[in-house]
């Protein structure tokens, strides 16, 4: 456990020291939401109808901005080899790397959701609006990690990662936008939230094995 915690801490420290890339996904997300009213007009009914779907599409695209980096540097420098030799389980190591990446890139997006909802003229905005995006972002980052692990050995793999993982984002966008729409129109939690949670659990169960296997093949 100490070994895995060391990797988690190292990832966070390196993300922080890496600087510029840290808030890139959150900034991308905020920028997309900010541009939407400029593009489609400021009609409140139109914006509030578009809001939930747009928030989830922006979440997916924002996650893609830095996904390719999760494993690339460690693969190139040989650090992944050392983590394998240290006897750490690669499933845990990859999971921890995605968790650290999610913490600095995914969580800020979820926390921005209420502000995004206000900008999209939602009727009722509460802290609960964070929840669907939070669950959705976990799934998106886990599947994104699988895409990143498959392409870690390639140069300029960003667009390829996007093509690989976008189909896996489909359920998140469907159930997430549905659920967020519920919440923003003043209704209580619906079945969408359970499906989002189930989706993230499935990703949590499958993705570590897929990532570990992909990295061993590099």
């Amino acid at each position: 456990m100490r070994g895995v915690l060391a990797i988690f801490r190292r990832e966070l420290v390196l993300a922080w020291a890496g600087g510029s890339g840290l808030f890139l996904p959150a900034a991308f997300f905020a920028g997309t939401i900010f541009l939407a009213p400029l593009g489609v007009g400021t009609e409140p009914r139109l914006l509030s109808a578009l809001g939930p779907g747009l928030i989830f599409v922006a979440l997916c695209l924002a996650s893609l901005t830095t996904l390719e980096r999760i494993f690339q540097a460690d693969l190139e420098t040989g650090a992944l080899d050392h983590q394998r030799l240290a006897g750490l389980s690669m499933e845990l190591v990859t999971l921890v790397k995605v968790a650290a990446h999610w913490l600095v890139s995914g969580l800020p997006i979820a926390l921005l959701t209420p502000i995004a909802a206000v900008m999209m003229r939602a009727e009722t905005v509460s802290a609960a609006t964070i929840l669907p995006v939070l669950l959705g972002s976990i799934t998106i980052f886990l599947w994104g990690g699988v895409g990143a692990s498959l392409t870690a050995g390639l140069r300029r793999s960003g667009p390829l990662v996007a093509l690989l993982v976008l189909p896996l984002f489909v359920p998140v966008v469907i159930f997430g936008a549905e659920e967020l729409n519920h919440l923003l129109t003043g209704e209580t939690f619906g079945a969408g939230l359970s499906l989002l949670a189930a989706n993230s659990l499935a990703a949590l169960a499958i993705s570590p094995f897929a990532m570990s296997l992909a990295l061993k093949l590099e």
Partner: protein, 207 residues
């Protein structure tokens, strides 16, 4: 084979090993035994599979045929692997890297400052890797062996990028490691000041 692979007399036994890269055969029918406390130099022209052999022994690559067995005492821990890649991310410092290294290998942290001093990086221990020279990164890599000792050392061109003092340090560290019963397999182009006990020439096993 008459020898028992569990016998601690030897650290590493390679039998009938074949490796390919892409569509080309690198070497085949490789048999080799590395005794504990011995230093074997791995030689051979470029492209004969020295790095591949080291990576097979480390367990990163599956060989086409044959197997590699390590003696029991060498098996419960991974080898110390010093490759061409230094394993440092640009913003890591020698100190932070070795702290993580100790944690990752469940080794105590109290050896770190002595290790940094030994490789001569005390005044640069808080400098991020992007400001370190190639030789200094190599020294950080050597310090790892002091922080988390491993019985089997697999070294891939360990002397590259090291200056004269660095090479002397490398030889001292290797000598101490052999003295304490450890084993070393090192791919070398230029001979080190330290004489190897055996030489494995991969050129002989090329097709």
């Amino acid at each position: 084979m008459s020898e028992d692979p569990l016998n601690s007399e030897f650290a590493l036994q390679i039998s009938n090993l074949t490796a390919v890269r892409g569509y080309s055969l690198l070497f085949s029918g490789l048999d080799f035994i590395l005794s504990s406390g011995c230093f074997a130099a791995l030689k051979g022209p470029n492209g004969t599979g020295k790095t591949t052999l080291l990576r097979i022994i480390a367990g990163f690559i599956e060989p086409e045929t044959g197997n590699v067995s390590r003696a029991e005492e060498f098996r419960d821990q991974g080898p110390f692997f010093l490759g061409h890649e230094h394993g440092l991310r640009a913003s890591e410092t020698p100190l932070s890297h070795l702290k993580d290294w100790a944690d990752m290998h469940f080794a105590p942290r109290d050896r770190i400052s002595a290790a940094i001093e030994r490789v001569g990086l005390t005044i640069r221990q808080n400098v991020p890797a992007y400001s370190l020279s190639a030789g200094q990164k190599k020294r950080v890599a050597l310090a790892r062996a002091l922080v988390a000792p491993r019985k089997l050392w697999l070294l891939d061109e360990p002397a590259s990028a090291l200056d004269v003092h660095g090479q002397a340090l490398l030889c001292d560290l290797m000598r101490e490691h052999l003295g304490s019963g450890g084993s070393i397999l090192a791919a070398l182009h230029d001979p080190l000041e330290l004489q190897p006990d055996t030489i494995l020439d991969l050129g002989e096993y090329a097709k």
